[in-house]
Subunit: 304 residues, 4 copies
């Protein structure tokens, strides 16, 4: 399929590479939330001003027992140290971004003029006014639910920064409303994206047809690299640019180019200009993303 | 000193407990930034569309060598998986909050009517118009620098969510401006807070004098707890409320209260009403915060 | 051209209607900024605490003379009433949105697979790696510059809300940095959009070709409305849905539909299915937008 | 009372000047909301893609009748021109700031150590744990409700900027949730502030006592201005600074200052050092704010 940068076809990629990018982002979010859940959700037991004075000298023991009961991390009172809440907010905000990314790609790939994917949930996505439409409603709902996250994270970070003395005058109330909305929104986005991806229908023929829309131009980078080995980088770029301007199949124009005469021997231009010519490109990236996903290995690093 | 909730004197605390809360927040931020710095700052080498096709089959090896050269984490291309940037943004936003918290407390403690701390940097904080003023300028500069963080984090999270296909149309440019501003702002806040705290002058006499402002009312919680053991919780609260209404020293009024007659034997009311009566309250919290700070132990959990 | 809702072709529109929508938004922004500029940019002269005590009793006269000198509105001191700044921020934020809207449409219309517009600035938009690309760089720069606005507006609104007493401890410094960045960003977005639109090349043939992509489905709403007059709304929708499913030209399938037999007499299906069949649709909307733009009439209301 | 800048006592002001500042901000917000309500809440009737094609040629007439029925402004379809929503969001954000400002001042003035105001709603503000507390709960609730506004406005501005083509893929859903939350939050803040101010108890004796805390230092600006007429600005500032350092009543020290000997004749130092010496300062500001409030005059300009 076409890889697209700035929403222009750029170079051929595979759908696997694109999906591996989605997977990496989602696995990053899972790691991030997992770390916050296991190490930062702590019991808060401090009394009115965080000294546990009414429990003295049993404060730490009571807090530890309570943490155990609730499945939370034991911790010193953190009534006015809201970094925990800020971290949770940041992790949820990053998760919202990771969820919105595939959804936005689905919406763009589902455009009438692109048509490379569609949502397959039966009976979904119709329009009451326009019977022909098949809207990617799950992807749209994902994007919509995630879009509230940046503003809510900003509210939570401002509240975390604004706590006065031993208990803030207002920031606490602000915090719990915003955190609840953020949890609901990110959870909703996750549910919608799961629905979207579980029923996604991919159309390889449209992918191939779209690659052919530009008469081989999508392979111009690869051709220019090959030509550069023969005539130098500058002249290679010039030759490709001349060929593009002709708005005919790229390879045909290059073969007629007088300045390249004698420099094309032994170059398999048809192979270079075949958008499907390098089907394994990025295969190692897919392997790494899958290995990480299945092994539960934390860092999205070069693999095994 | 007075512990203050909702900006009202609540119960006596020590300055050590307050400073331990500041330290915990800052250590949380150090941990968070350290984790991002060591595991998430990764080399990005993917070519135009993230497939490394021009380097094939040496892409992973070149990326690993580059990462090594630059001291970055090796990683698969992440051009359109912006969770890394979102995580860094979230960590910086949480750090801004951790920095603003002590600065806001300093500003509040330095109020003319409170006067418990002042900034001691020589020659700083004067006002051209008002010769008497000694403004906590470093704390104010900390708060001001940190205040831009929530909005910048929101911008970065929205950019991370908004990337189209293999390279976003606009989100990248947005991201780098916002990230640079965020780094500068948080760094500036850190520098100002370091200056503020390094020269902070603490006034124990004003702390004590402020505790005495309310005629012992700041110890009402402790007294009520002690009375509750004698007359029950409801009657204890009623008695303290009656005593507060008299606006005279709390202990004097309680001793005259007919309904408490016979119930006060053996209670050392003067000791209970001494705001400095429990100087060790929260000592374990301070110990834990210091132990964690010096040991470099990551979780701010109950201690050794 | 195709009108697109949820990024799916919906009904035929004209490029004029689309551009009229852009114009309305930009004229709204011009009105909004004009109102703030003429009525809300006021001189602030109040002395240290906003009482003008050092100028007494000439404060109002001095302020009026200063306002006159600077071309600002005369006003009572507003050191801690930051609603003026909040209004300016809100107006700039709305302007950023009005600027981003046409730019985003241009980016989407310029996609390789859509190709209905391109940026015509000579020598612009090429890619060093991919010689075939013609990126809509001005539109992208518009979107990128505007994307910082929501976060900056949030920062300014929080600062406006956060002013303590007669002069805020920090909010003022926060405000001026953010306001300067917001002014620069919105100005930059406006300059980029002006460049983009001044050189925009529109491709009517691609518009027409895209309308034909769906075999007339883009006119399904219009056909369904016409059929509903014959067979009722429910059956009309069912018939169109059946026809869509055949993935052949819509009109052909409808004519073969046994359930519609006898109901199509006198209906000019070819005319209904011609995407260009109602070229005047929305003409009144264009007229109103232009009338407002040229007359300087403030409200974007129904016209003359 | 003390005027306070950067939370330090600066110069004497009156409570009237402070309250006039609150009133000006609230009247600004009323004007702003009123303008949006009367000119920008418009009917949206455009059909699927904003062309009113299904109503042609009666679109404008139907829209006008609908606007009349609903009490809205008649307007051309604005489905994807979201400047109206952005303006409403901005106006609500500015209103939230105007509401938070007096509430924050009340919270600060109600501090135990300041004690110049308290909330008088009967039976409100007690603490279950600390019987002595009288928390300014209405002011705190105002600040908390208003604190969500900046993030919500950012969400709405981003949605307004992000609309694709004739109907946005997601931004609309985002918008309505955020707008509803913003309306509820600002309405709630307004209700709480009305409660707070309706029952506010002001304590003139504490105001006076706080002015006396600094031994006349709060009048240092006024004294320095008077001295400057005798010995020049530089020497006047130096003399006041020397006197401040002695931490005794300012006037006493100045009279003993050898360098000022002979320069004080005819200066009524006691009058200058009386914080209540200029009770009319800012009276014109109060008059203007009240005149505007009662006359309904829109601009907060210099008056009648």
């Amino acid at each position: 399929m076409a890889g697209r940068t700035l929403l222009q076809q750029a170079v051929p990629i595979t759908f696997g590479v694109k999906a591996a990018g989605w997977l990496s982002g989602l696995d990053d979010a899972v790691d991030l939330l997992g770390r916050v859940a296991s190490t930062r959700l702590a019991v808060q037991l401090g009394g009115a001003a965080g000294t546990r004075s009414a429990l003295s000298p049993h404060g730490a023991a009571v807090a530890a027992a309570l943490a155990d009961e609730l499945g939370l991390v034991a911790a010193v009172p953190w009534h006015t140290n809201r970094v925990r809440v800020a971290e949770l907010a940041g992790a949820l905000g990053a998760t919202a971004a990771a969820l919105a990314k595939p959804a936005r790609d689905v919406i763009l790939l589902a455009q009438t003029e692109v048509g490379e994917v569609r949502e397959g949930s039966p009976g979904r996505g119709g329009s009451s006014a326009m019977p022909q439409k098949r809207n990617p409603v799950a992807a749209i709902a994902t994007v919509a639910a995630a879009a509230a996250a940046p503003g809510l994270v900003a509210t939570l970070l401002a509240a975390a920064a604004g706590g006065e003395h031993e208990r803030a005058a207002g920031a606490g109330q602000t915090e719990w409303t915003a955190l609840r909305r953020l949890l609901v929104g990110v959870g909703s986005a996750a549910a919608w994206l799961a629905d979207c991806l579980a029923h996604l229908e991919v159309d390889p023929e449209r992918m191939r047809a779209n690659l052919d829309l530009t008469g081989g131009a999508v392979t111009a980078e690869r051709i220019a690299v090959a030509l550069a080995g023969r005539v130098g980088r500058t002249e290679a770029h010039r030759a490709v640019a001349r060929a593009m301007a002709a708005r005919r199949p790229l390879v045909d124009v290059l073969r007629e180019d007088a300045e390249l005469a004698g420099h094309l021997d032994g170059l398999d231009l048809d192979d270079l200009a075949d958008p499907a010519g390098d089907p394994d490109a990025g295969g190692d990236i897919i392997d790494t993303a899958l290995w990480r996903h299945h092994s539960g290995r934390k860092p999205c690093n070069e693999a095994p």
